[in-house]
Symmetry: C2
Amino acid sequence: MAGEVRQLDDRKLAVLRAIVQDYVGTEEPVGSKALVERHNLGVSPATVRNDMAALEEEGYIHQPHTSAGRIPTDKGYRLFVDKLAEIKPMTAPERRAIRHFLDGAVDLDDVVARTVRLLAQLTRQVAVVQYPSLSRSTVRHIELVALAPAKVMLVLITNTGRVEQRLVDCPGTVGETLLADLRARINVRAVGQRLPDVPGLLEELPAMVEQADRPTVTTVLATLFEALAEQNEERIMLAGTANLTRFGHDFPLTIQPVLEALEEQVVLLRLLGETADAGMTVRIGREIAYEGLNSTSVVSVGYGSGDESVAKLGVIGPTRMDYPGTMGAVRAVARYVGQILAES
Amino acid sequence: MAGEVRQLDDRKLAVLRAIVQDYVGTEEPVGSKALVERHNLGVSPATVRNDMAALEEEGYIHQPHTSAGRIPTDKGYRLFVDKLAEIKPMTAPERRAIRHFLDGAVDLDDVVARTVRLLAQLTRQVAVVQYPSLSRSTVRHIELVALAPAKVMLVLITNTGRVEQRLVDCPGTVGETLLADLRARINVRAVGQRLPDVPGLLEELPAMVEQADRPTVTTVLATLFEALAEQNEERIMLAGTANLTRFGHDFPLTIQPVLEALEEQVVLLRLLGETADAGMTVRIGREIAYEGLNSTSVVSVGYGSGDESVAKLGVIGPTRMDYPGTMGAVRAVARYVGQILAES
DNA sequence: TTTTGGCACTCGTGTGTTCAGAGTGCCAAG
DNA sequence: CTTGGCACTCTGAACACACGAGTGCCAAAA
């Protein structure tokens, strides 16, 4: 085959870039004449028309009706994002605003709440932030408290500031000595470890205590493991749904499936879950597995306290979105949230 | 004045009722002819027209344009709700479905989540459920745990299953004896009490410990009081926003302010807060204080584990909603949630 | 006094027509 | 390969027009 992807010369790429930029700006199909007027391409409309024909042939753009301008296709946006666009860095005032906005947060809930609102405001789209998930974070402290002779409260504190507690009904009375011993043994092994690794590190514990205490220890550990494994606890926060009103002109049809998708935590979690661990992920239109979101694009990225990403955040908007700007905002916000988490 | 509210005779009321019912069903202005056809009023269209003129005179209905049918005004809906409508009880299968749907809940979060989804589905509108609020509930247990020499974790467990925890930085080292003493004293006084009453009951505590420990005790208590008072923690859960797409035909204009309002937890909290403690509250259109919701109606009611209402839940929909049905669903769901909470 | 039928009037909606403008594709010349 | 010219297509706005639903009013009937 003479090149499965026919090579597009530079000018054609420039034309595509211009089309994307103009269409994102005006929301209207863009014609050859308007193009040469707004961008100094140094060629005539006729030339641009030829290029457009080629681009359409390759599936990067298409026209709604015969006598209309061109609109980028999903494939066109894809090429734009991959090859033609630079992530737009935030301006200094914007960075200040972000910092200022996030610095006021008092606890983890507040950090997430502020982040999601900020992101929605910055991008003027729908923002989604996943709570720092247990499975990626590490143990800061594990506490055992006797509430009654055979009742123990277990508290798990993670490095992301999350606290989980469980009540444990033990098979027999639990002495304060045993509890203190257990507490010490658990913490010395678990603190600083990633949550999924903890069970493995505590396997040997039952064997280390007196025969009589084993059932108790096993019970406590079982509850702890359960708390550690609790994947259901992956929560998500949403903001900016009002921005959906700026979606398109053909309203209810476009917006309803999106609203429905946004109500399904499961869908959103999977959406964020598919984000690459490193770098930013952009999914465009049909690339999105969930059908209801087929006319949207998702820009998402991981964030975390160290270099490690502990959760994801992102933005959902129309495929016709300002990719460079959105990507810049998403990246910047993720960074700052990471810093905030690291500090606390 | 010869009666500031002119008496409307029975037939006029029947006409109003018919207008409301038809308009809710068809979403289109209803004319005199259509009315006599669908409801057997036993009079001619001309008579109905006279009644309509009277109703319009009194402000219960109005016509969008000269040659159109009539639409109920907020005042008309108000009269309908107050005098003309009976709350529609749930059918047996519906009740079974509600019960079945809510019975699977595993914890408080889950109860609220299921409730709000159920309500949205049942009414096909936007549902709002407030978490059982701290201020109405009572203390089940308060726990103090030493995490470090001068660091104490405070855990507050309420009868509604809610858990709040706080880290306390103490002015000096905290001995285990002091902590145990404090824990016992606090619990003996606070357990079973309503949250707002607790501070008053613990006032005397600092005076009961040794001089040297007073700062510590004061600090711990301050944090506890803060947690108790935390009104911000009044959380809300939302579902059914996709139902907004069935709002009206003049889309973005109607829906945007509503979406914005729904994002403001504060607005929703105030909205629910204004619900009467006993009985169901229906607010219609302009009766709602918040401007963005002026073209909606809110049906809300308190729910709780005992006779006591601990929180509110409700539904937000277009003023043109099926009031009897919505009120029936809201009442039924509130009852069942109350039962579920009482059981757990 | 209330109800009813009749009638003229109003006005929104849907339909068809026209027209201008934007945009294209193609072709032949530069 | 680029460009200007040209014929062609198609949308959307503007306009006219007829239809029909619905009204208000009035005089007669109950």
